[in-house]
Subunit: 365 residues, 2 copies
């Protein structure tokens, strides 16, 4: 498969702050500043234009910054001693979240002080707070969450895995628009292919919403390379670059895949350490097994889609390498045409949703 | 975890034919009689009470039977030269299937000549033909299909993966009843635990149908060990023994898991054969890797649930060992209390579906 790779074009909407500013929840995740700050230092070395806003406990952040002079010079610390707990309920976070490091990180976007925000904190809370502060641009219950699933030759963009449980056809088409723009910005693919997740049964393919979304996408009024229905195993086959489904199916099947991968990994490790000869074999194969593990790891960060602003969720157990990747992903997205491409295609949605006129009508009213 | 293992009790409904008779579509699957007949010979050696009806091309079947005298003595060959193609559409199969080996295998159940039927042929066709001949006992679009997914200490029974796309709460409860009885019969677990698949988001757990099914199962009018909601990764964790979901989510997430497992297996093989030292390691680890592969293989056969009769689907690429396992599974199910346990619990369904009366009402009309 030949893919045209192009550098992400600069987005005019990214010029509200110049140079690029990324707003960081320094307290989020399992480790807080001790992981986030070294990660920022690592990432900033490759982002000569970027500056950071670091939200959180100033003493803890300064202690880490003392070891990273270059980062300290390009960052602004914004103190707060309030933090959203990893187990806080989204409703609680919305009521009591004001002034926390997560809240302040997101609010900096709304105030035009930053181009993107990143948190490794509580996903439900980040979704709820982001929706409250930035408001939705798309007509969704809550932001859509993208997962990046590895396949033999790259990554599949899979959404919604963020639990927009009830999705009509229009919502599925919105996911297609957002996922396609995300995949282009994140992976530099000019025209990502898109598929709609469905069941394999020949008869009565899927429910009403899926069939209606299929009809809309196939008609071509939305500007993307739609390839039709795909099945669950196409996600890891790389049949299409973007796989679209509702948040219920997406969340369940993402976790099912993670569970299957975890089970296989555990069984493999148990098998390879079960005897002396086998263990020697495992030792010899170790470098390959480590490369294997890297290959099957998904991306550590995902954007929340459908918001008026760019917020990325980094997974809670992220180490410095993961968080640095998330920062580079945020910079790539902020500097790409991502947001304006979504807006452009979203404007086509009302016409695409309208029932089709008879094929040979003359257009007389 | 301590499990009470008990031998499957004999079911009174299994006495319509004595000894046990299993009806075989000898032409189904990728290989036909050359695999099916040796598999039958292998399985029958462990089933002293069983007899077989072999449906298909008599010449081909007799050629194989010539090598298996014991099987030949305990089988009856029922000739037909008509076969359902692996790519035949279910609607076509229903119209034109009469007199094919698959059709005749299922019809023997309705005619009281066999206790169970097995086919490794086209799944959609088998579901359609079975529904047409046997009729549904449960109120479903089509039979529910069970998958058996390995976890560290056993197998998870997962249904519906057979694409009953639109499922209300009553359908989900029916799946719970059928899956629980199946798990007991197939795995000798006295009281299998049951969970309902849902998303992990704290707020607004799942859609209306899932929450309503949860309410019904929690009330306890249905006789089973319901443990509440589970998530996608619980399927391979073995958190509960039976995981229930609608046919859309079940089909997609089963295929997603299969895809993830296939991807990991391929990547692992590529990693382990990428260099000389690594390949030596892989060679030393080979016995463990083979045990690993066995461990992660699901069961080769699954019953179609909700029919007035026992039909098992064996996967199309089954080898003789797989098909023999399917035969033993059919015998276990036919001789268990499976069918009557489902019927008993299904009779509780109307009362369980009725809205709950106020807690301290006196029952005055």
């Amino acid at each position: 498969m030949v893919r045209r790779i192009r550098p992400p074009p600069r987005d005019e909407s990214a010029d509200l702050t110049h140079p690029l500013v990324i707003s960081i929840d320094a307290m989020g995740g399992d480790h807080g500043p001790s992981v986030v700050i070294p990660a920022c230092a690592k990432a900033l070395a490759e982002l000569p234009d970027a500056r950071l806003l670091l939200h959180g406990d100033e003493a803890q952040i300064r202690a880490e910054l003392a070891r990273h002079k270059e980062l300290a010079a390009r960052s602004e610390v914004r103190h707060t001693d309030r933090v959203i707990a990893m187990d806080e309920k989204p409703a609680q976070a919305m009521r009591r979240g004001k002034g926390t490091s997560m809240w302040n990180a997101v609010e900096a976007i709304r105030e035009g002080q930053a181009n993107a925000a990143i948190s490794a904190g509580n996903t439900g809370a980040l979704m709820a707070i982001s929706k409250l502060i930035l408001r939705m641009s798309a007509d969704l219950e809550r932001p859509a969450l993208v997962a990046s699933i590895p396949h033999a030759n790259g990554m599949t963009t899979f959404l919604d895995v963020g639990a927009n449980v009830d999705c009509d056809a229009a919502r599925l088409v919105e996911f297609a628009i957002m996922g396609e723009a995300y995949h282009r910005a994140a992976h530099g693919v000019a025209r990502p292919t898109v598929g709609l997740l469905n069941v394999g049964s020949e008869e009565m393919k899927g429910h009403e919403e899926v069939r209606e979304a299929h009809r809309i996408l196939r008609e071509g009024k939305i500007d993307l390379a739609y390839k039709g229905f795909v099945e669950g195993d196409d996600i890891t086959k790389g049949t299409v670059e973007v796989v679209v489904t509702d948040g219920f199916t997406g969340n369940v099947s993402l976790k099912a895949m993670e569970g299957a991968a975890r089970f296989m990994y555990d069984e493999l490790r148990a098998a390879l350490t079960s005897g002396m000869v086998t263990s020697l074999g495992a030792l010899l194969a170790r470098p390959s097994l480590l490369r294997f593990r890297d290959k099957i790891s998904p991306l550590p960060a995902a954007p929340l889609l459908g918001l008026n602003g760019l917020v990325l969720k980094c997974h809670g157990s992220a180490d410095a390498r993961d968080f640095a990747k998330a920062l580079r992903a945020a910079a790539d997205l902020a500097q790409s045409g991502f947001a304006s491409e979504i807006e452009r295609n979203m404007r086509r949605l009302p016409a695409a949703l309208a029932p089709t006129a008879p094929a040979s009508a003359d257009g007389a009213a």
